[in-house]
């Protein structure tokens, strides 16, 4: 490999990128818009869950209970229905996610036996919201139950020690306020870079073929390796720029705590970019026409990066077979790395395993691409 020829290739590629200002704009704008859109759009925090109440008794006790739902930050009363069909309609229209039904004999049972059931109708189509809503609702009901108990004991002039519940004192590490932003944004940087990176390079080779300039390139003394690295270097610069944008937005705008070192971040990011860019390159070599290249690039990047990288959907909760498949998803290593660098402050020493995977991945892809390119020329 000659440095002079490599430089010539790189300069040619830079000029080509520079002369297509629209693609360049997209390459630079994409990380910005995606960071903001996903950063704000991906949010699992639930507040003001719409609730319908159906008070079939209308007593002091039932109203006391329902008022607690009104007072809770987690719930917003969407409607106080008076008939069952109204409740059904409200859930059907998704006007509310939760229906609380107080039975007609609520206070009677509470006075006679001490136990009274309340029903929570959940819209099960969204199981995550349903589970979280039920958890909040159960907490509201338990606190009501405890208040009633204490009031009764009070009336009997007794102390309340017996009902003192067991307390769970929880401490959350690495993300102290359980801010979903801190968990999602670092992973998001990885996903966006995986998408943008493969995008950047996947069209470079197929463009040469379609425009017929490849024949021209081959007739010059440049070697296959020089073509590849010459084409990749300018995109690596662009990739660094994009990654820097994303990381700065993550740390400054979204205020995700950064506890690691810049050195570790730079090293791992470069490694990841090498993988992503060479994958785009491999795709562009493998698939002759641009339409095929881009279709496949979209298929193997967009949804897998979103769903198999572990940036929101936890990999350890997937079936074993799918878990094995995620090892192929290069973004997962960078998701692990970048979350650890940001939140745990991990250094190279702790991250050697995913970094090793990235190195192996990069080498394998580069070798594959070089071989495929030679084959195409032959």
């Amino acid at each position: 490999m000659r440095l002079r020829r490599l430089k010539a290739m790189a300069v040619k590629e830079v000029l080509q990128i520079w002369r297509d200002p629209r693609s360049l704009m997209i390459a630079l704008l994409l990380p910005f818009t995606q960071m903001f859109m996903f950063g704000y759009g991906v949010n699992l925090y639930l507040k003001h869950i719409p609730v319908c109440t159906f008070d079939r008794e209308g007593s002091q006790a039932s109203q006391d209970l329902l008022k607690r739902f009104q007072a809770s930050l987690y719930f917003a009363i969407a409607e106080n229905v008076t008939t069952y069909p109204q409740l059904v309609a409200a859930i059907d229209r998704a006007d509310c996610r939760l229906g609380i039904i107080v039975p007609p004999d609520f206070s009677e049972r509470l006075n006679d036996t001490g136990t009274a059931p309340v029903q929570a109708i959940l819209d099960g189509t969204d199981d995550n919201t349903a589970n979280i809503a039920f958890g909040y609702a159960a907490a509201v009901v338990i606190s009501y139950s405890n208040t009633v108990q204490m009031a009764q004991l009070d009336r009997q002039g007794r102390t309340l020690q017996v009902v003192q519940p067991l307390q769970v004192q929880s401490r959350v590490w690495f993300n102290e306020d359980l801010e979903s932003r801190n968990f999602i944004i670092p992973g998001l940087v990885a996903v966006i870079m995986a998408l943008v990176g493969a995008q950047l390079t996947s069209l470079t080779i197929s463009r040469e073929w379609e425009r017929g300039t490849m024949e021209l390139l081959v007739s010059t003394p440049v070697t296959a390796g020089e073509v590849m690295f010459g084409k990749l270097i300018p995109y690596l610069l662009l990739g660094w720029l994009d990654a820097a944008f994303c990381l700065i937005i993550a740390a400054l705008w979204f205020a995700v705590p950064f506890r690691g070192t810049l050195g570790a971040l730079f090293l791992t990011t470069t490694l990841f970019l090498a993988v992503v860019l060479s994958i785009g390159y491999l795709l562009s070599v493998l698939i002759r026409s641009q339409i095929g290249a881009s279709q496949i690039a979209l298929v193997v990047t967009l949804l897998p990066a979103m769903l198999l990288s572990g940036y929101v959907f936890p990999i350890d909760q997937m079936p074993t077979f799918i878990q094995k498949l995620t090892y192929l998803m290069y973004a997962r290593y960078y998701v692990t790395i970048i979350k650890a660098i940001f939140l745990k402050g991990s250094g190279i020493a702790e991250l050697w395993a995913p970094m090793l995977f990235l190195v192996v991945y990069a080498l394998a892809v580069v070798l594959l691409a070089a071989r495929a390119f030679r084959k195409r020329l032959a």
Binding site: L122, Q167, V168, L178, Q290
Partner: protein, 377 residues
């Protein structure tokens, strides 16, 4: 007019039939993606790796720990001997949750002074952490209530006391086991359809333009409207086929119920396909090369996916992004598809979503015809 549209339709279908790679791309990847993503997308939390440290060694502490070990939500991976080991387990991500019972736990319980347990949670995945904390609280509350009930019962005989207990009964509708797959598989169906259809249409016209065949077509007596209709009809048919394919995978493989009316679903799918075709057409009129079309697709499809309610509740988004979701056809289709598959609701409930998709389709199609005419001049 019809006579001029038909040849275009036939030409497109022939092109598809001859293109082996395209036929493969239309059938195999969607099925594979359905299978993989149907399993991958889940927020359910089972088998949380848990470390336990019992410094009390009492009957009560063992009883409480037994409640954790017997729950399928928690997998006890380590029984630690010191706080140091607990910290190391969380640091190394060996355990996502640690439960520490300090000495004096049983004593405090017996005296009724209010006992406590310490819990450490790895917050790197805040959603899992939140759900796991919820389960821990449920188990702890259950333990406390049973313990109190026991105590009360013993005292009741002596002093005539009674325990008050208001309980909340869980009644999930449409999805009795709250199975997460029932929520995500319909979402995957909608998303895959969106990506396939937009991609196909966006590239079709751009390719003709790039290859130069568009000029040829334009010198023929065909009008822009007829050309666009001729181009859209085959993709519409392909889109219907795709929906049928991925819905079948959802019903047969993932055993998603289909309680609604297939005709309502068909109507909703038709409107959805028209609006996504329009999105693809619009992209193809703004782009002159396939590379631009590819980048633009990316630009458009990923926000459509994230801001659709596929996984992240629209109600939790900031207001500006919520406005954006109104121009997202996938947002409406997910309501329709979940509504017909799981809830079994009909047009009386879904009409606002139908109307929105219809308006989107009309506006976008008109826009793309206008733009298309302009690019020709």
């Amino acid at each position: 007019m019809f006579a001029r549209i038909m040849p275009i339709v036939i030409k497109e279908l022939l092109e598809l039939r001859r293109d082996k790679a395209a036929r493969f791309l239309l059938v195999v990847p969607p099925i594979l993606q359905m299978l993989i993503f149907g399993y991958a997308a889940t927020f359910e939390v089972h088998h949380v790796s848990t470390a336990i440290l019992d410094l009390d060694h009492s009957q009560e502490s063992r009883e409480l720990i037994a409640r954790f070990t017997s729950s399928s939500r928690f997998d006890v991976v380590e029984v630690a001997q010191s706080q140091h080991q607990i910290n190391a387990a969380i640091d190394a991500s060996d355990a996502a949750v640690a439960i520490v019972i300090h000495a004096g736990f049983a004593d405090a319980l017996r005296k009724g002074q209010g006992a406590s347990i310490a819990v450490i949670v790895d917050g790197t995945n805040s959603n899992t952490a939140l759900i796991a904390l919820g389960y821990i609280n449920t188990i702890a509350t259950g333990f406390a209530q049973d313990y109190a009930a026991n105590l009360m019962q013993r005292e009741q005989g002596a002093r005539g006391m009674r325990q008050v207990q208001v309980t909340l009964e869980q009644r999930p509708w449409f999805n009795p086991d709250l199975n997460g797959r029932w929520f995500f598989v319909p979402g995957v169906i909608g998303t895959l359809t969106l990506i396939i259809v937009v991609n196909l249409t966006a590239f079709a016209i751009v390719r003709e333009r790039e290859v130069g065949t568009l000029e040829q077509i334009m010198v023929s007596p065909i009008r822009p409207v007829e050309f666009i209709v001729g181009k859209t009809v085959p993709f519409f048919l392909v889109g219907l086929g795709e929906v049928a394919l991925v819905v079948s995978v959802g019903l047969l493989w993932f055993r998603i119920p289909f309680v609604g009316n297939p005709l309502v679903m068909l109507l909703g799918t038709t409107l959805f396909l028209l609006s996504t075709l329009a999105v693809g057409l619009l992209i193809s009129t703004v782009c002159s090369t396939q590379q631009q079309a590819f980048s633009t697709n990316f630009f458009v499809l990923s926000p459509f996916f994230i801001l659709s309610g596929f996984a992240f509740p629209i109600a939790s988004m900031p207001q500006v992004l919520q406005w954006f979701t109104y121009i997202n056809p996938l947002r409406y289709y997910l309501v329709v598809i979940r509504g017909t598959l799981l809830k079994g609701v009909g047009v009386s409930v879904l009409w606002p979503d139908f109307a929105a998709m219809a308006i989107l389709a009309v506006v976008l199609l008109t826009l793309s015809i206008l733009r298309f005419r302009k690019t020709l001049e």
